[in-house]
């Protein structure tokens, strides 16, 4: 039964959802600090090409993911500088990252004597757990059959949830995003915390891009994210800035990305374009429904200072 359509599609949803999950988690932490970085798509791309390059060079998945993450963090550092220190409009700065990241990744990915794609020998990604577990019916592939990165992502979700709600630095992060003036008065460094978590967000997006290139697709191609970064931006809202819900949402929308194929096998004709639309339509509707009722808006919990630069003098 482990190769039934249902089981296979759940597995592929998890695989397809994992890069989005990394990016979403990163953006959640960034936005929790009050900084909105719309450049996720660009950071994923730069992380993807860097991670892929590192994978080709080293053959080591972990080094490749680290390289991808660092590349994403470097790009997000530009956003941090512009948005936090120079108080450039965060929307514009984020969109500029999309353009820079897209351009730089395409430039790098295609240039040089031998384009990356041709020299790829493959990074070995082995399942983590013993075969006996993986062969269990249904739960085998769905729960035990994944590569180590998927388990790592689960760990990170748990860690992020713990960090946000059960640690003092997590408390500081939430306070800075909610009310930077109060956080400042309490002796926290608003600028420092915002920088740090903007970089963390970039790292997450970069890792997501690297995983997408190395594992999910096993190849680099220009613009390979195909909107995954934008889905992450939407999922941050749908998840209400909460890590656990991000896990759920990532897999649901990972499933949507593979659902068209699955349905085709099942003989159901639903145009894939409408499936692709769903995260965006849902987010659009949710944002409107939430905003129509202020009480609801409070419960959903967008960080109150999201997108607003802070300076002590301009209180």
């Amino acid at each position: 039964m482990n190769d039934t359509v249902l089981v296979l599609s759940i597995v592929s949803a998890i695989v397809a959802g994992t890069p989005i999950l990394f990016a979403t988690l990163g953006e959640i932490l960034t936005e929790r600090s009050g900084v909105m970085n719309l450049g996720v798509e660009g950071m994923m791309l730069i992380g993807g090409v860097t991670g892929f390059w590192a994978g080709v060079q080293t053959g080591n998945l972990w080094l490749a993911l680290l390289a991808g993450g660092l590349a994403g963090a470097v790009l997000s550092g530009i956003h941090a500088l512009l948005a936090i220190s120079l108080r450039v409009n965060q929307i514009v700065s984020g969109l500029a990252l999309v353009i820079v990241g897209g351009g730089l990744s395409a430039f790098w990915g295609n240039s040089g004597d031998a384009p990356l794609i041709q020299s790829f020998n493959g990074v070995r990604v082995e399942p983590l757990l013993p075969e006996a577990l993986r062969d269990l019916p249904a739960v085998g592939p769905i729960v035990f059959g994944h590569d180590p990165v998927v388990y790592l992502s689960w760990l990170i979700v748990a860690a992020a949830g713990y960090f946000l709600y059960r640690t003092t630095p997590g408390l500081s992060l939430r306070a800075v995003g909610e009310d930077p003036a109060a956080a400042d008065a309490a002796g926290l460094s608003v600028t420092g915390i915002r920088y740090l978590f903007t970089l963390v967000g970039g790292f997450g997006a970069g890792v997501g891009g690297a995983y997408l290139a190395l594992v999910v697709l096993g190849t680099w191609q220009t613009g390979l994210t195909a909107g995954a970064g934008w889905i992450a931006v939407a999922l941050v809202i749908l998840a209400g800035w909460r890590p656990w819900l991000a896990l759920l949402a990532s897999y649901v929308f990972g499933a949507l990305r593979t659902l068209g194929f699955t349905l085709q096998i099942a003989g159901v004709e639903v145009p894939s374009d409408f499936l692709n639309m769903i995260p965006f339509v849902v987010t659009f509707l949710v944002v409107i429904v939430v905003s129509a009722n202020p009480e609801r808006a409070r419960r959903v919990g967008a960080p109150a200072s999201l997108g607003e630069p802070y300076s002590r003098e301009a209180r």
Partner: protein, 531 residues
């Protein structure tokens, strides 16, 4: 640690200026262990500047702060806290979406990586019990009432080991029963050898709940006295400088009993930003040719009253009439067209759009009218010509420049607003703090324009915290306190000392329904002379 009664904090010759204007001018202050020390003064007297220096928010230009006899430097709120100084601001520094306990530990260095709120809760419970500060540590701050939030702020300072607590106008935001609770907490703190600085402009509060009082006026010390050895009248005199007041009735006494009312506000009720009643059944009548001055300490509902009259704030009860016309539910534009001119308190941002040029700001209310525009097309020539005329008539500089008004001087801006408002057809002028922050020449010019209004048979409702201004200009002075009109004087019945008491809420002249003040047009010296 100093023993009770010993001086714990000393401020010597503190100077602090903002943009060349001295906010604190050689201020001295000392605080003893275990005392409640009142800091009294009008708005702009320098109380907040002094407190902000103590709280590490501002750095003094010169002067010295000593703690336990040692000079200290307080370079940030953090350093002040480390020295045991905690300040509770009027605008609370709490994160609404966090719980009480979370707010208490926020930013504390000695807290470990793990957030162990249970230990916090135990300590909070202990402190809360000791000082009578009952708050549930698990509640979210946004769910708490204003009084409860204030208790959290005090709790936060105590939790952080504050032994000197500065309370900035703590009762300004509280309902009466909550004030009593606060005073109880303050008393507890003094008993535990904490020192409390109680910043206030309310007389009863100072007299009833402090050991000593320091009065500031215009950035300088006006005196420090033992509370037990003083009374409201002498404190009011120190605070408003009654000896410098112009004698009542300096300008010709005029009577308005027969003049028709141009503005009638009846039983107005307005809810303020924080959901508390800001204007509580206020009634005021302005007659043709009359200047009615509203005296009062800032934050007693004046701003909300102005905005309600101008149509910028929703009202919850009462009515507003402009001459014969009921404008209670009219839009701001309709009110303006009906003959209401309004000079708001907030010059840049409300009175003027700060990024626009002076020319554009001068037609901010008439840009839709011919000749400034026809069919939606602006005539730059007509606008320039209007602007030139207005600038000439009111001595406004820079009308031709393409500079944003945010870069211009306050006096120039105020003259520009007056030029725009006074040259529109109107019957009533509502002006809020029209000379605040202006130099002498600009102040004189503004006052001349306001006086000229009456010559044209218009009525003026003048809000000002500057008593000298009100006594100089107004034909009728009403006193506003806690959202109500608590007294009224004509120049001949004016008693400055008593007015000071009314302003600070130490007395209620009418002691009856608020309307009586407005109806007593000729002035009814009902209140008893100050003790």
């Amino acid at each position: 640690m100093a023993a009770v009664g010993e001086t714990i904090l000393e401020v010597r010759d503190l100077n602090k200026a903002f943009y060349g204007v001295a906010a604190n001018d050689r201020v001295n202050f000392d605080l003893r262990a275990g005392e409640v020390h009142g800091l009294l003064g009008e708005n702009g007297a320098g109380k907040s500047t002094l407190c902000s220096v103590l709280a590490g928010l501002y750095r003094p230009d010169s002067g010295e702060v000593r703690l336990d006899g040692q000079p200290v430097s307080l370079r940030s709120p953090h350093e002040a806290a480390e020295h045991g100084i905690g300040m509770v601001y009027q605008h609370f520094r709490l994160v609404p979406s966090l719980t009480v306990a979370e707010n208490l530990v926020l930013g504390l260095k000695r807290q470990g990586f793990r957030l162990t709120l249970r230990a916090v809760q135990n300590r909070v419970a202990a402190i809360a019990e000791e000082y009578g500060l009952t708050v549930h540590p698990d509640s979210y701050v946004w769910q708490l009432s204003v009084g409860e939030q204030q208790r959290v702020e005090i709790l936060k300072q105590l939790y952080r080991g504050a032994r000197i607590l500065i309370l900035d106008e703590p009762t300004a935001v509280l309902a009466p029963h909550e004030c009593e609770k606060l005073y109880e907490v303050v008393r507890h703190m003094a008993q535990q050898d904490h020192s409390v600085v109680l910043v206030s402009h309310k007389m009863e509060e100072i007299l009833g709940h402090t050991d000593r009082v320091t009065v500031l006026r215009l950035g300088r010390n006006a005196g420090t006295v033992n509370t037990a050895e003083t009374d409201a009248a002498s404190l009011a005199a120190m605070m408003i400088g009654a000896e410098h007041m112009p004698e009542a009735g300096e300008h010709a006494l005029r009577r308005f009993d027969d003049a028709p009312a141009v503005l009638s506000v009846a039983n107005l009720e307005v809810v303020g930003d924080r959901g508390v009643t800001a204007v509580d059944g206020a009634s005021i009548e302005v007659r043709r040719g009359q200047i009615v001055g509203v005296a009062g300490v800032a934050g007693n509902g004046q701003r909300e009253l102005q905005e309600a009259i101008a149509g910028l704030r929703a009202i919850s009860g009462g009515s507003i009439r402009l001459g014969e016309r009921d404008i209670t539910s009219a839009s701001p534009r309709e009110r303006s067209a009906a003959g209401l001119a309004y000079v708001p308190e907030d010059r840049l941002g409300t009175g003027l759009a700060s990024g626009l040029t002076l020319e554009e700001n001068l037609v901010l209310k008439s840009y839709r009218e011919a000749p400034h525009s026809r069919w939606g097309v602006l005539s730059s020539r007509a606008i320039a010509s209007t602007a030139r005329d207005l600038a000439e008539g009111f001595d406004v500089r820079g009308a031709r420049s393409q500079m944003a008004v945010s870069l211009m001087s306050g006096g120039n801006l105020q003259k520009a607003i007056l030029a725009r408002e006074l040259t529109r057809t109107h019957d009533v002028l509502v002006a809020a703090s029209p000379t605040r922050g202006l130099d002498l020449a600009a102040t004189a010019a503004v006052r001349t324009h306001i006086r000229a209004e009456t010559a044209h048979g218009r009525g003026v409702l003048l809000f000002s915290e500057d008593l000298a201004e009100i006594t100089e200009l107004a034909d009728l002075i009403v006193v506003m306190s806690r959202g109500r009109i608590v007294g009224s004087y004509t120049p001949e019945t004016l008693d400055i000392a008593e007015l000071g008491l009314l302003m600070t809420g130490a007395q209620d002249q009418t002691a009856g329904p608020a309307e009586s003040a407005a109806e007593s047009q000729a002035g009814d010296p009902a209140g008893s002379p100050a003790g």
